[in-house]
Assembly symmetry: C2
Homo-oligomer: 218 residues x 2
DNA sequence: CTCTCAAGCTACTCACCCGTAGGCTACCCG
DNA sequence: CGGGTAGCCTACGGGTGAGTAGCTTGAGAG
């Protein structure tokens, strides 16, 4: 035990920049998702990444830059995962269903990515919040387009009890909350989750565009 | 301008403890809702409250204690506001509608309270997150009770496409997201918001318990 | 008028953490 | 073999902010 106790053979060799950046981003997402932006320390991130702190600064810039890089990478991942599952020539309801399935599959597989995007990014304020909000708005508008498409196909106009944008905001929120709920119930498959939401919303929406409206009684 | 420039008459006189605590809590909610827990500084809170920092510590304890006091006060306010609007002997759908109206009225009036509870409390982690989550779970269970009551009244059992708890989680999430959306659209009344949600969810739910189910085609 | 007590403040300590200066070592090319 | 370069580190500066020590001042009692 004189020259062997320092683990000389495997000492995290010199690696190309791309690999280190991946390690750093992975660690950053993990730490940010656990503690949030402000409570996360660069020391802990460097520790988790198995890299010293100056590496982070030379490769990815300041803490804010690093957080931005995380947000962008995870947002891109999420959008790509959803678009990969969507089939553009299906009817609107099936498009929505497939999009939802991909979404729930992604959240289950990369729950830290989802946490960073959904919970932490909004609390930082400034450019990132705007960026994530933008992504969310795009998602809402996408859904709104499907909804309106289905609505006009059935020949429905503007109604007092109906706002495509508000409805889509509610739908996206329902999808997100169900995602959070599903994190605690891993045995529910993504198909079942998507079907629940379709049954909730689509059926109600169908009624609505067919003129059947809920009103407060008396 | 020799003896009048220091505003000698009104100099924030010595006040009873209860009043100071209120001032401090109001300021804390405001600052926490703007910056989040970690980015908020005790100096800014004391500044906004018009009180020096040691006062906060003698009256309300550490920063964590202060945040806890904020959360508890605002959560109590919210629950009381909702319960004040609910009429227990109405049918389930009307109970839900009245609860939603009260909720949206509260969010519009005390948007900072809502922000602290919904966005900031979860990111701190630990006891507060648990506390807020508990409140949310109680809300979900309350809604689930209404939903199940309406379901059994119409004689529906367990179905594969249906889970009361999951549905309620989605509903509560939809309500929350619509609340966020409504913050940017102040001209929409609380009654309209509540009606939108009822049309979305209740109609779909009605279809569901009457056996009309959405299924993916092919 | 004076003594006492509590309300309230200024100014400080100490710890934490972002960001960096400067040095070391392995690999590559001539 | 020697210089250059790129991967990588230890160790520190500086700023910020939580929490506190100890003083000042107003108000009531005698």
């Amino acid at each position: 035990m004189s020259e062997d106790d320092q683990r000389p053979p495997e000492r995290a060799r010199r690696l190309p920049r791309a690999v280190r950046e991946r390690q750093i981003l992975d660690a950053a997402v993990q730490v940010f998702s656990r503690h949030g932006y402000h409570a996360a320390s660069m020391d802990e991130i460097s520790d988790v990444a198995g890299v010293s702190k100056p590496m982070i600064y030379t490769y990815l810039g300041s803490k804010e830059d690093l957080f931005g890089a995380c947000i962008r990478r995870e947002a891109t991942r999420l959008l790509e995962a959803i678009q990969a599952g969507v089939k553009p020539d299906l009817p609107p309801d099936m498009q929505l269903w497939h999009g939802l399935r991909s979404f729930y599959r992604f959240v289950a597989e990369y729950r830290e990515s989802w946490t960073v995007l959904h919970r932490q990014a909004l609390t930082v304020g400034g450019a990132f919040a705007a960026e994530v909000t933008d992504m969310r708005v795009r998602a809402i508008q996408l859904v709104a387009a499907l909804v309106v498409s289905a609505g006009t196909r059935k020949g429905v106009g503007e109604q007092a009890e109906f706002s495509g944008e508000g409805l889509s905001a509610a739908l996206v929120g329902a999808a997100e909350s169900l995602a959070d709920w599903a994190l605690d119930h891993p045995d529910i498959s993504d198909g079942v989750l998507a079907s629940w939401l379709m049954n909730l919303v689509w059926l109600g929406f169908n009624d609505l565009i067919e003129g059947e409206v809920w009103k407060p009684s008396e």
